[in-house]
Symmetry: C2
Subunit: 541 residues, 2 copies
């Protein structure tokens, strides 16, 4: 029951005013101000009304007429991999070996001697010569740190002498099957290791300590805040990592609404199913009530399972990574334990296998409100599109994959199957909601890349004109829901977050442009000016 007006005149902790606030709450969709108390929204409406809640200790934020949206949530991403990636030196875009070395030297300044430095992203094809580099210059510049730098495609690595020493890599080292140790004329390793030879050094890179992990994850959260994310759905976490996240949350060091999918590991599932679903732990920071499974591989490597062969590989229908019976079995156990099951499926066969397995599990253990998900749901047979709504299964889709893949996906699939590719609008019409995401670090963290892809189906250069299969675009209203309210629904959190609504967490983002109004091509030029989590400023530009 709504409180009488007088009861709401307790002063607010925070008033945000002079803004264009898209609340994603249809009972009051557009307001100019809101107020926060104890980390939750207590009022949305006019600036005048908000001002009446100002007390001696109320902080007032004047948004200067800027646009505010609910804090965004990435519905599918990889926390641990982002943390790892941030630890690595980013070598993407380097134009010379010297530039690679300079970036590593820069990192070495803040890295204790003897500690490994990992880098990713070099490409000698961009350096003027296509010859692999040799370790000498790297070793000379970095004598005291083991260094291992991965090529942009992951199929080759460059180690310095310190790293080779730790690994015991010498002229005497034998090549493993399927791998190559590049050597000079005298047979001495040059530092470059190809494919299966990579493990010789990389296996020696120490696993980060828990303290290192903690620092790395904090950096990852900072990056999310910088892009307006207040939460993410972690698409696969080990028990060790979940315990770290819970500890960080307990110590108030997480600063994230983290919806965890437990990785498919029998011991971990037994452990967490035994505890039962847990929500909003540590004051709304951690949810442990979901499981991540894998049905198939990916499209780029032709590992996605298709019903008909790849158009560019006539004898290949891709790979199933899990037996359908396994998906069904875990789904049944999840239904009984009250856990949501979220299965990776890219190809049309992969998706059908998951829907079939879910259907069998639900036949055995009928259940309302299970909110089972298919992660990616990229390529769907037309017959399977309505099955999501019918089974109550949520397609969890990352719009940025569409704009990354559109250049080559037609070669893999031929024209007909593209009508079921990234078919957001067809799915929405059946009555599902779509939590959007980035799959970071596979794609960029910036959630507005997926927002832009959702409304335009164009890349950052506005290609193709009119959008790629534009009938499948989302409206801006739906695209905004897909970054806010719909991930909340997909995480059983819609009563707590996903909109700027009295009673919900005060999570919001101030943008420098109105993404609901500017031409689509301006969306990617939008900056996050500030991110607030539970009414607390966690990022300011």
């Amino acid at each position: 029951m709504a409180q009488p007006a007088t009861a709401q005149q307790t002063p607010a902790d925070l008033i945000v005013t002079n803004a264009r606030v898209y609340t994603v709450d249809d009972s009051r969709p557009l307001v100019e101000a809101f107020a926060v108390r104890n980390g939750r929204i207590v009022f949305t409406g006019s600036a005048r009304e908000a001002a009446s809640l100002k007390g001696a200790n109320t902080k007032v934020v004047d948004a200067g007429g800027r646009t505010i949206i609910p804090g965004m949530v990435d519905g599918h991403a990889h926390f641990n991999n982002l943390a790892k990636k941030l630890r690595s030196v980013d070598l993407v875009g380097t134009r010379s070996y010297d530039e690679v070395i300079a970036r590593v030297v820069e990192r070495a300044k803040t890295t204790p001697k003897g500690q490994w430095i990992i880098g990713r992203g070099w490409d000698q094809n961009a350096w003027g010569s296509t010859a692999f580099p040799t370790h000498d210059a790297l070793t000379a510049a970095l004598p005291d740190h083991p260094v291992l730098l991965e090529r942009i495609d992951g199929h080759a690595q460059l180690a310095n002498m310190a790293a080779m020493k730790v690994a015991g890599l010498t002229a005497a080292t034998k090549e493993p099957s399927g791998g190559k140790i590049v050597r000079d004329a005298k047979g001495v390793p040059t530092g470059v290791l190809v494919d299966n030879a990579e493990g010789i050094v990389s296996s020696k890179v120490p696993t980060p300590s828990i303290q290192e992990w903690r620092a790395m994850h904090k950096d990852a959260v900072k990056l999310m805040h910088r892009w307006g994310l207040v939460g993410m759905h972690d698409a696969g976490a080990s028990r060790e990592m979940i315990e770290l996240y819970e500890d960080m949350a307990k110590q108030k060091e997480l600063d994230l609404r983290l919806y965890i999918m437990i990785s498919d590991n029998a011991a971990a599932l037994t452990h967490y199913f035994g505890m039962g679903p847990r929500s909003a732990l540590y004051d709304g920071q951690v949810w442990v009530r979901a499981v991540k499974l894998y049905a198939d591989g990916a499209m780029g490597s032709r590992g996605a399972a298709l019903l008909e062969p790849y158009s560019d590989d006539a004898n290949n229908t891709g790979l199933l990574l899990s037996a359908p019976a396994h998906i069904q079995e875990v789904a049944e156990a999840g239904l009984k334990a009250g856990f949501q099951i979220n299965t990776h499926a890219i190809g049309d066969r992969g998706n059908r296998v998951v829907l079939d397995a879910y259907e069998k599990a639900l036949d055995k253990t009928p259940m309302a409100n299970h909110r089972f998900r298919v992660e990616h749901a990229q390529i769907l047979h037309q017959d399977d599109i309505p099955r999501f709504a019918q089974l109550g299964v949520i397609p969890s889709m990352q719009a940025s994959h569409q704009t990354s893949d559109m250049y080559w996906i037609g070669k893999r699939l031929g024209p007909t199957r593209l009508y079921g590719a990234y078919a957001w609008q067809s799915l929405l019409q059946t009555g599902v909601v779509i939590p959007n995401g980035s799959d970071f670090p596979v794609e960029e963290v910036n959630p507005l890349i997926s927002f832009h892809a959702s409304i335009a189906r164009q890349d950052a250069r506005d290609w193709p004109m009119g959008g790629w299969f534009p009938a499948e675009r989302m409206s801006r209203e739906d695209a905004l829901r897909s970054m806010t309210l719909w991930p909340a629904y997909a995480g059983f959190q819609e009563q707590e977050m996903g909109s700027i609504t009295p009673g919900k967490y005060a999570d919001f983002v101030i943008l420098d442009q109105d993404i609901m109004k500017v031409p689509a091509e301006m969306v990617l030029r939008t900056s996050v000016l500030a991110t607030y989590l539970g009414g607390r400023l966690v990022y300011a530009k």
Copy 2:
């Protein structure tokens, strides 16, 4: 915090399935089924999931693929006047005096002898002769009931002999000033009374007893249910009527979500302000937390207060029915007591007077979430359009007035002022919500008339082509909100009703057409097949 899935497997009381459900809940906008327990929604989603909540005592409604929307609420109407109108014999459209008499005789069959029968709507111009009727045939057919029949324009009445006897109307009766007693050649009254003579008989019609009122209101509620209404905002009720409604609700005889505006009466306001705002009384049936004031008159009678004279009456700027100071005074008292103030304002001056009075009251007693309203807000000066959002004032508008008035409103106002007439879209763009309504019995009860007017700004014959000032049309999504979630917001009820959302009252309507998809011209041919209030069937076609 969301319940774990397993906790939700308690069997439902009611499952509604095989439907196209527009929930007006963006966390799950379109579903095919939902479940109800203890009068509230407990699940929305797929038919399969809903079926899993079926127990031994669960009632299942198969909607046969039909459209379901939340129970509609009329944001501004007159309960008592509808009740009165229903008690009268409807004589509109009668083609002869015989037909008039036949309808009254029909009513007499169920009316105890000696009890008055009131009728409305005869028009002798439609009978072939333009002469007034005389009472003889009516008296012959109805010797035992006093009968009083009002002409369609309200400017003449026909009484039978029994009624004249009660009133003591004889050849000796003198005519009042401004009135006429029609007499035969011998000076004997014929039964017809014109203008100020009407009171001679009508003042003798007894006020209904409380038991009669109760029966009349029950009939009015039945009619609302028949048109898919589960609630209404009563735009002005006396203490006597409020006490009747509360008693009906207590006895479970109301069957309505009745949001009451207390009529502007000092004693009543003192009484109810003393009690404080009361919400969801008697299991969600009665809300007493609002006051109805009047700023000006109406447009048809040139009583609406304008800033500039009427275009068709150069010396007339309309009437203010309340002193601005009175509106301000009651508004201040309302702010202090926690009551919402809802003031009738039609003309641009009337609206400005109300906004000014509210602004002064809010300057003195700043308050968040007051949700003060302007009822009608029909004609607005461009400068005043943004003031609603700025002050936090809700424009409560009845779209059917636009389609009723559009034929002649241009004569009253001239072309320029029409840009601020029924300016729904201009208002929505500023960030307000608009509760829609009918103002029944001024307009028809059927809320789809206002839905149709909102999206088309055309009459039932699809005139004018393209719609009248079509830039002010609402989207269908907004029009649906204006009949459901936005009246709930305007009544501080958005957490309890207005959408098909788990936790809210299970109020919903089954329609025979999809009003969100059919061409606009089909909307008025839509029938309500069933209306449910709190999960209970209250109307079935």
